[in-house]
Symmetry: C2
């Protein structure tokens, strides 16, 4: 949307700025034509630069508040809460607590594939975690400067999502299977995932392009989740540990998000699991 607006605004700007100069019927002296030409180029350059770097040029649209529809727990929504926080976007939450609420959303046609998370943003009702994350990352310049950077960010993000989903599903795993699952997660984390990030963060504070991206935000979220389950797991990964420390204090919004009373959710407990199962009307989540 803003890109379309941006393009229209540029056309309008260029038209009003340049058209009088190129109109040969105006009896302007040569010097004034030259000076106006230079001024117009300068203005146009500034505009071109701004539009290609800021999605909200020239006037941010007055958007309604972002509303998240999900359980009062982490699950698939937590990465979205993280990303909105880092983008410094205010949001409200509607917590699903009963099956009736969920059926109402379904009945109203608000959930494209009959699933949550759902996020109301910029007049849309977005579903599918990755679609939502991509939209936010794109809108707030957290997805790299070009397609190659975005590809790197996507690769890191997808790896982190695989790892976080293994942790996310734990509360819905039969208790007898949990120790084995935990062992698998720990070994994959230390052998498959963390070494990649340790290497990528050699001498760098951010994973891609020397600037904050959604991959950094997901790595921060993921490392904190890992430490909750496996104390000291980052001790063999000093770059990752240092990245975590630096990024926690990188933005006041992140620091605040990690304080008690923020919109960050705690680790899932029995109540969370009961609510999810009741809302979805299932005995055990099968996948």
């Amino acid at each position: 949307m803003h890109r379309v607006n941006g393009a229209c605004d540029r056309v309008t700007t260029v038209f009003f700025l340049y058209w009088p100069i190129s109109c040969t019927s105006l009896p302007l002296p040569l010097d004034i034509v030259h000076i106006l030409t230079i001024v117009c180029f300068a203005v146009h350059f500034t505009i071109s630069f701004s539009t290609s770097h800021s999605p909200q040029f020239p006037f941010p649209t007055m958007a309604e508040k972002v509303v998240l529809h999900y359980f009062n727990g982490r699950g698939k929504m937590e990465s979205i809460r993280w990303l909105l926080t880092v983008a410094e976007v205010e949001f409200d939450e509607v917590h699903l607590t009963t099956r009736e609420q969920f059926l109402k959303l379904l009945g109203d046609g608000d959930l494209m594939f009959q699933q949550v998370p759902m996020v109301e943003i910029d007049g849309m009702k977005l579903v599918q975690t990755r679609a939502i994350l991509n939209y936010i990352a794109g809108k707030y310049n957290l997805d790299g400067k070009d397609l190659k950077e975005r590809a790197m960010i996507n690769m890191y993000s997808e790896g982190l999502r695989d790892l976080m989903e293994m942790i996310m599903i734990l509360p819905f795993t039969p208790p007898a299977d949990v120790p084995a699952k935990l062992e698998t997660i720990q070994s994959k984390a230390t052998e498959r995932y963390l070494p990649v990030f340790e290497k990528a963060l050699t001498g760098a504070m951010h994973l891609v392009g020397g600037q904050l991206s959604c991959a950094d935000v997901e790595l921060l979220e993921c490392t904190l989740m890992l430490e909750e389950k496996f104390t000291g797991i980052l001790s063999q990964f000093p770059n990752v540990k240092s990245f975590q420390g630096k990024n926690i204090t990188f933005k006041p919004a992140i620091t605040r998000f990690l304080q008690p009373g923020s919109k960050r959710k705690p680790q899932p407990d029995e109540d969370y699991v009961k609510t999810v199962l009741a809302v979805f009307d299932v005995k055990l989540l099968s996948r």
Copy 2:
């Protein structure tokens, strides 16, 4: 990458085209200045328009051939083969047949998270299906005209990926569980997924923005997969069936891809399953 290049090229172009005009020391008559100004604006407009619509302006870089590293079967690579075909990008394939080949790739550090698919493209070794698909879709303008269109495309794609992954995992499911899984897939396809596409395709040939996107390509792939498993499943979804027919003939490359002898892979058979399990050194894939 091409976006960065594009920006540099524009700066250069604008500098060489406009600078002589704005140089007041040139003894040019007023009329010539005006005519040159008009010409420059026309050229610049054309360039601006081209760069914002074609990622390969002004000179496509000579890229090496795209190489896919995967099994000689569909799996997670098939959607990538589809998308490259639609983008009319030539590609080669290296088929994994032995564990040694896989260990060699791991040893060479070619697989970021020790997984395939991996695709060599534009000097990168991309992994993670979605990262690869996003890169191709972005490079070949198959991801919408703006962020909102991309969000819609992402939502449809993610739904289709969920559905296709259920089918993809079938050959690795214990035979006794297959009938129940098939029933689940069929009911989800007809109750959760196909109605969404049936509605979106009312009076439209493409899912988003009146032009071909990666979501169309995935819907085409998915509906053909569904029909292989459930004959006549599209009979209740006339818009989807009509979409399928129109898109098969939309590009000669798609028609060719559906002919025998193309790079499209057949349904997985016992040999495919055996090879996958041997290469990954597992008895049964667990998730």
